[in-house]
């Protein structure tokens, strides 16, 4: 789902960085005070796990595959602020160490997946947990992927309108919303199911080990 370098116009990624800078400052403020001793290695490990989950390909119909994010899990266990910081770090690692994603697109990827994805996950969880906690966790996992995919599709689909030459040829990502919305969103409706199952599995492990509040 990550947007790589070179496909996003500066008119989009520079304002996104300004927005993300505020969100990073808000998330990092008092980080050391908010992180309890046992939480630090757990957060680091789950950050690494979120990275590794991105490497585990889930098969999709048609011979293609997608991957999980781990955002919902981080959000449920550590809250939005820590999730945003940790997932931003995952994106930096994926981009710089392994060439997945991009630094210019980092702010957009972080805002769509790390921030909006975690907010969607927590909204679903808190909205549904009074009915059934497992369903709430499943919905959190699914929604975090689908909302992120929707936003990524919108950002990509807007590029031909924002960055183009006088003759109409594109300068950055070439496909409009009519292509990006179905191409990005539809596979992620299925990937979301895998993400939901993984989130529930790990959530139960975490609860059994008393990592998460009851």
């Amino acid at each position: 789902m990550h947007i790589p370098d070179g496909f996003i116009a500066p008119q989009v990624y520079l304002p996104a960085y300004a927005l993300a800078a505020g969100a990073w400052w808000w998330s990092a403020r008092g980080l050391r005070r908010r992180l309890e001793a046992e939480q630090v290695p757990r957060l680091a490990m789950l950050t690494a796990l979120a990275y590794a989950l991105g490497l585990v390909m889930i098969p999709l119909p048609g011979g293609t595959s997608g991957h999980a994010l781990g955002v919902a899990l981080l959000a449920l266990l550590f809250g939005v602020r820590l999730c945003f910081i940790a997932y931003s770090m995952v994106l930096v690692l994926q981009s710089l160490l392994f060439g997945a994603g991009g630094i210019t697109a980092l702010a957009i990827n972080a805002l769509t997946m790390g921030l909006t994805g975690s907010l969607a996950a927590l909204a679903a969880y808190h909205g549904l947990r009074r009915f059934n906690e497992s369903v709430a966790v499943l919905a959190a996992g699914w929604l975090s992927v689908v909302v992120s995919a929707l936003l990524i599709a919108v950002v990509l689909g807007l590029q031909p309108m924002i960055g183009q030459r006088a003759d109409g040829s594109p300068l950055f990502f070439p496909f409009g919303l009519s292509i990006t919305l179905p191409a990005v969103l539809l596979p992620h409706l299925l990937i979301g199911i895998g993400e939901a199952a993984l989130t529930l599995l790990i959530w139960r492990f975490a609860r059994a080990r008393k990592w998460a509040a009851a």
Binding site: P4, D5, G6, F7, I8, A9, P10, L14, A28, L31, A37, E38, V40, P41, R42, A44, M45, L46, T47, A48, L49, Y51, A52, L53, L55, V56, I58, P59, S65, A68, I85, A86, M89, V90, V92, L93, S95, L96, L97, F98, G99, A100, G102, I103, T104, R165, G168, S169, P170, L171, F172, F173, P174, F175, I179, G194, L198, I202, F205, R209
Partner: protein, 187 residues
């Protein structure tokens, strides 16, 4: 000049180069910048270039081929666009790999002890988990002389996820214990 300061200066230069690459819309200038970067990268240049090509190949190929088909069909095909897009992406990815080959990432965030710690532990674990994912894939490939069915691939993904989870949980406990014994949590 301190290691952290040098790393941060190089980081700023790297970011500046990325922004410049998105402001230039002349493909041969970007290609020339790529050629210059490859030349200046020293003995590691071919390794870095290979990594760049491999990591950018899938997405670039999909977008380029999709664009070519659609634009030819609509009669709006522009070879200049394909050259621009691919030279820009290759330049930006190459700069990233070159930067990380020259700069120690924790040194960039050395101003923040919390972030430095988180990054160091996460990078170490990410590398371990990545190797394990690679081992899993090789084992799966070697045991499937024919193309595996979707059900087999799903079971393989589930087994991988389970193993990564166990590994992460175990490593988190071990690290917490090791840090506690070394008084890392005492202010």
């Amino acid at each position: 000049m301190g290691r952290g300061l040098t790393a941060r200066i190089l980081f700023v230069l790297y970011l500046g180069a990325l922004v410049a690459a998105t402001l230039i819309h002349v493909w041969w200038l970007l290609a020339a910048a790529l050629l210059l970067s490859v030349t200046l990268a020293g003995p590691a240049r071919w390794h870095l270039l290979r990594r760049t090509l491999l990591s950018a190949l899938a997405f670039n190929l999909a977008v380029s081929a999709g664009y070519a088909v659609m634009a030819v069909w609509q009669g709006t095909f522009s070879a200049q666009y394909l050259l621009l897009l691919n030279s820009r992406v290759l330049l930006m990815v190459f700069l990233g790999f070159w930067f990380i080959a020259r700069v120690d990432l924790p040194a960039v965030v050395s101003g923040s002890p919390g972030l430095s710690f988180l990054l160091t532990v996460a990078v170490a674990q990410a590398l371990v988990l990545r190797r394990q994912v690679h081992d899993f894939e090789q084992a799966f490939t070697s045991r499937n002389p024919r193309r595996p069915r979707t059900g087999d691939r799903l079971r393989h993904a589930a087994a991988q996820g389970q193993h990564l989870l166990d590994q992460s949980l175990h490593a988190a406990d071990e690290t917490a214990l090791a840090m506690r014994s070394r008084a890392c949590f005492d202010d």
